[in-house]
Amino acid sequence: MSHLQELMQSLRTFEKETFKKGMSLVIKNHEPQEIIDQIFTPGLDETRNRYYQGEIAIPELLLSMQLLMDLLSHLDIKQVGRKRGNNKIVLGVIEGDPHDLGKNIIKRMYECYGFQVYDLGKNVFINNFAEKVRETKPDVVGISTMMSTTVSKVSKAIELIKMESSSVNVIVGGAFMTAAVAEDIGADAYAESAAVIIEETDKILNKTK
C-alpha cells in the first residue's frame, strides 16, 4: 500500500496517531496538489457521504474534518488549486442561543471546501450580523439556532441583513428549523445538516450568478 493509500485508510478508520505519522511521510514525498487531489478532496467527499448515509456519526465527522484541516495547514495553499476561494460566508448562532456544535461543524465543512469563513461565534446579537455584512460583503450569511425561543430573532436578523444588502443570501439551520420555517422567516435556503450544506450553498450561489 502506498503512503497515500495508507493515509486515506487511517482517515477512514479515524486513527489519529497513524494519520499524523502518515501525514508527515506524505508531505515529504508528494506534491501539495497531489495530496489535495488524492487525499483531501476525496477524503472530505467520502466522509461527508458516509455521514449523509448514516454510516458515521458526529464524532467521526468532527475528527475527520479536524485531521483534514490539519493536513491542509501543512500544505502551501497558494501552490494548490482550491475551489471557491472567493466565496465569503458569515456564520453565527443567534442571540440567546449558546449551542454552537452544529455551527462549528458547518464552519469546518465550509473551510474544508475552501470558503472564506467569518465566524461570529454563538449568542450573536442581531445587529452584529448586519454589521459584519457591511464590513465583509459576503456571498452568504449562515444563521443557526437550536431553540424555538430564538427563532423570532433569526427572523429579525434576516430583516436587518437584507436591509444592509439585498443581494446577500441567508441560509439557516439547526434543530428547530425546517424548510417551511426557513421560508416563513424570510431565509433564502435551509440546510438540514452538514452533509448537505455545500450543495445548498451552491444552489443559492448559482441562482444569484
Binding site: F14, G54, A57, P59, E60, L62, D100, L101
Partner: protein
C-alpha cells in the same frame, strides 16, 4: 386484571389513568391518550420566570398542574430543563429571562481530559437542583398521582457529561480518550442510580431516561451502546424493580430504537423522528409497537408555527398510522416549545377527542 376488564366495559368515559393503562396494555381506549410534554411553557400559565420554574419546586408544580388542567393532558410529564443533574456536579448554569436554563459554555466544569477523573459521587436527595426536582415531583404525585400517571425525568449519563464538558469536546474525547470518559460516566451513573431510586420511591408511575445521543444527531450506534447504553441499563433495572414503567425519550435524527430497546428495554418510547429502518408510522408500529408503547411525534416546529387546525390534521394522520391497537400516546417529538401558546397543545387533545367521531363520519 379484573380492573382492566371493568375498564374495557366503561371505556367511553375513562379517566386519564385508566385511558393510559388500557393503551399500555395494547387496547384501544375511548381515545388515544395525549401528553403534551409541556415544561417551560407551563410557566406562562401562572406567570413565573424560567429561573423560578427551574429552581422553585412549589411554583413549578403549580404551573405544571394548572397547565395540565387547561390542556387536558393524560400524563403529567414534569420535565424542567437539561441542566439539573450537571448543576449539582458543580457546573455553572445560566438562567436567562426568556429561555430555558443552560450551562455556562464559557466555563465548563470539565476543562481538560484530566478533569473527567475529578467528578465525585454525591447524594442527589441533598443537592440543590436534583432535590428541588424530587420535591416538585413529590408535590405532583401527592396532588395528582391517583388520577394521572406522573413521570419522573432523568437525563442520561452521556447527556449529563456533555453539559459539563461541551458536546463537541466530549464527542472528540470519546474517540481519543475513551477510558477517561468512562471514568466520568461511572461516577455520573452512580449519582443517577440514587436519583432514579429517589424518584421511584415517590410513587411515580414511571421514570423517563433521556438518551439524546442515541441517534445520528449524536454518536454512532456502537458508541452509544458502549458509552451510554451500558450505563443506562442499571437505571432501567432500578425502575423496573421498583414496579415503575421504564420510559425513554430521544429526540435526535434517526433514533437507535434497536439499541435503546436492547439496553433499556423501555415500556414507552418517546421520539421525534422515525428510526432509519422505518419508512413511516405504520412500519414503526409493526416493528416496535407490539411490545412498546410509542409516544410521539408531532413536530415541535408545527406546534410553534402551525395553526390549531394544522395540529389537528397532523395528529389525525399520526393516529391513523400508529393508533390502531393501543400502545400509542399522541405527543410532541420533544418538549413543547417553551415560549409557545398552549392552544396548540390543547389542539392535540381536541384531535384525540374528535378522532373517534371523525371515524364515525367517514364510515357513514
Amino acid at each position: 386484571m379484573e380492573v382492566l376488564k371493568v375498564l374495557e366495559k366503561t371505556k367511553d368515559k375513562l379517566k386519564p389513568m385508566e385511558r393510559v393503562l388500557l393503551t399500555l396494555k395494547g387496547d384501544e381506549a375511548d381515545r388515544v391518550p395525549v401528553c403534551s410534554i409541556g415544561a417551560g411553557c407551563t410557566r406562562l400559565v401562572t406567570g413565573i420566570s424560567f429561573r423560578e420554574f427551574s429552581t422553585k419546586a412549589d411554583l413549578a408544580a403549580f404551573a405544571l398542574i394548572a397547565a395540565n388542567q387547561l390542556v387536558g393532558d393524560d400524563i403529567l410529564f414534569p420535565f424542567v430543563d437539561l441542566s439539573v443533574e450537571a448543576a449539582d456536579f458543580g457546573q455553572k448554569v445560566i438562567y436567562p429571562e426568556n429561555t430555558t436554563a443552560y450551562p455556562d459554555y464559557e466555563d465548563m466544569l470539565i476543562k481538560t481530559v484530566e478533569d473527567y477523573e475529578r467528578l465525585e459521587v454525591f447524594d442527589p436527595t441533598n443537592s440543590p437542583r436534583m432535590s428541588n426536582y424530587i420535591k416538585m415531583t413529590r408535590i405532583l404525585v401527592k396532588r395528582c398521582g391517583s388520577d394521572y400517571p406522573v413521570v419522573g425525568f432523568v437525563y442520561g449519563p452521556l447527556g449529563v457529561l456533555g453539559m459539563m464538558r461541551g458536546v463537541e469536546s466530549l464527542y472528540l474525547d470519546i474517540l481519543e480518550y475513551p477510558d477517561k470518559v468512562k471514568v466520568a460516566l461511572e461516577v455520573i451513573t452512580e449519582v443517577l442510580k440514587k436519583y432514579t431510586m429517589a424518584l421511584c420511591n415517590l410513587g411515580v408511575a414511571g421514570v423517563c431516561v433521556d438518551t439524546l445521543p442515541a441517534s445520528l444527531s449524536g454518536v454512532s450506534s456502537q458508541a452509544w451502546e458502549e458509552f451510554e447504553g451500558h450505563f443506562v441499563k442499571p437505571l432501567g433495572d432500578i425502575i423496573r424493580e421498583a414496579g415503575c414503567l421504564v420510559i425513554n425519550h430521544g429526540c435526535g435524527h434517526a433514533p437507535y430504537f434497536k439499541e435503546v430497546k436492547r439496553c433499556l428495554n423501555p415500556a414507552i418510547v418517546s421520539f421525534a423522528e422515525l428510526p432509519a429502518e422505518c419508512a413511516d408510522g405504520v412500519e414503526l408500529k409493526d416493528m416496535y409497537g407490539q411490545d412498546m408503547t410509542l409516544m410521539g411525534y408531532v413536530s415541535t416546529d408545527i406546534l410553534y408555527h402551525g395553526t390549531p387546525m394544522q395540529i389537528i390534521e397532523e395528529s389525525w394522520k399520526q393516529i391513523d398510522q400508529i393508533g390502531k391497537g393501543g400502545r400509542f400516546v399522541l405527543a410532541p417529538g420533544c418538549e413543547y416549545p417553551p415560549n409557545s401558546n398552549l392552544l396548540n397543545a390543547r389542539a392535540m387533545v381536541v384531535a384525540a377527542e374528535l378522532y373517534p367521531k371523525r371515524k364515525e363520519v367517514e364510515e357513514r
